[in-house]
């Protein structure tokens, strides 16, 4: 579904992605973790073209990024992206946020989109918040609207860029619960997160990145209980200490 082969990327002189090779199968859930600045956000931002790659191959849903034949706009409708900072449209209600792209990008009739939008918002537990503006919602609620906004496009792939790290601790689980639900329905997902409970519950693989390179991959149980490299051990001891 997502295939990286020898992908490199620089920000100026900074080598942010080093020779990345990674395969994500359909219906697979992959958690990406690593210290800050390790390139994990950049990695998933490349998949829907928010960042461009310098060289190597990146194939998403059978389409090679950077090819002239690849229509990025079309590809992006198949790839949902959930941001750390939610990025809800502040001038639109929750429901309007959810149905904006389906109406204007997918060209779905408004009435139909509204039905689907209500359904999606109900699914993430916000049936009573259709007409609330983002500023009236808590962080956890906003992030759930953001997830519903992606789901409403019926994507084949969902990408999550640290979806819970801007949230107050008591709101993290309501968002993770929604994400677990999405995973259990068989969505192909790549999630940048340090939430190990989430990784244990639904991830098939954990990818550990450091300094722009993939250092280690493996099933979550194995990665957490028996990390193979010094760098992953050091990282895990830091995040598990508390």
């Amino acid at each position: 579904m997502i295939k990286f082969r020898g992908v490199n990327k620089w920000f100026g002189a900074l080598h942010v992605l080093k020779d990345i090779t990674l395969n994500v199968e359909p219906r697979e859930v992959v958690v990406v973790c690593g210290p800050s600045g390790s390139g994990k956000s950049t990695l998933i931002r490349c998949i829907n073209g928010l960042e461009t790659i310098k060289n190597g191959d990146l194939v998403v849903d059978g389409q090679r990024l950077g090819d002239r034949a690849t229509n990025m706009t079309e590809l992006r409708t198949e790839v949902g992206f959930v941001f750390q900072s939610f990025n809800l449209y502040p001038h639109k209600t929750a429901l309007e946020n959810v149905i904006l792209a389906p109406i204007h990008v997918r060209k779905i009739p408004k009435a139909e989109a509204e039905i689907a939008g209500r359904e999606m918002l109900a699914k993430v537990g916000l049936a009573d918040k259709f007409n609330s503006y983002p500023a009236e919602l808590s962080g956890g609620q906003q992030q759930r609207v953001a997830i519903a906004r992606c789901l409403c496009m019926r994507p084949k792939i969902m990408l999550f860029d640290e979806p819970t790290s801007a949230l107050d601790p008591e709101m993290i689980s309501e968002v993770l619960d929604v994400m677990v639900g999405v995973a259990e329905e068989g969505m192909t997902m790549m999630v940048v997160t340090h939430e190990m409970g989430f990784a244990r519950k639904v991830a098939r693989r954990v990818v550990f990145m450091d300094a722009g390179a993939i250092v280690e991959t493996g099933p979550p149980e194995e990665f957490f209980s028996n990390p193979k490299t010094d760098r992953s051990r050091a990282f895990l001891s830091k995040i598990l200490r508390h």
Binding site: V79, G80, N87, M153
Partner: protein
Amino acid sequence: MLENFSFRTITEYLPLFGYGFAATLWLSIVSFAGALAVGITLCAMNLQRSQALKVPAKIYIDVIRATPLLAQLYFLYFGLPRLGVVLPELFIGILALSLNSGAYVAEIIRAGILSISRGQVEAGIASGMTYFQRMRLVVLPQAFRVTIPPLLGQAIVLVKDSALLSLISVSELTRAGQLLASDRFMPAEGFITTAACYLALYYGLKTLAASSERWLRLRPTGNLK
């Protein structure tokens, strides 16, 4: 010597001031509409990647901002006939005000658009919107709200600037004051009445600006930090 202050003369000249007030009001409205048109065009040019559009807009804005309106007004007033364009003073005045305020309006709109966070644009990109869809659905509706208060501020500046049109003998408020001052040698009566009329316009616009700000605050849009 202001004990001779003559309210009776002011009453006599009231129709003239009424006419001047109306003239200032409508010529300001027309000029502001012109300024919006000029400003939106300049701002659209300024936001393009193409240097051929960007550079002329930037130069225009800088030149307008670095020279006095009065010099610009005289430039058109004494210069246009030279090009064979003979226009009534009123048109020249409205043209000068529109061209001058347009540069400031362009900067206000640009600041409004740039104040929309990168994340908003990225959310649009990620959901597959085209550049124009992102502008129309995400950026401009938000920028619009941000720009209303400073645009009303610019409207206040424009109304006051329109006083300079009296120097090319356009009949408006300040001209009415000048007439009273010179006909009857009563500058105090003339210019105090003029000032009072401008203050009325100023407080009207200021109230409008305050209520628009309150209205925008009440609308739950809240900038997400």
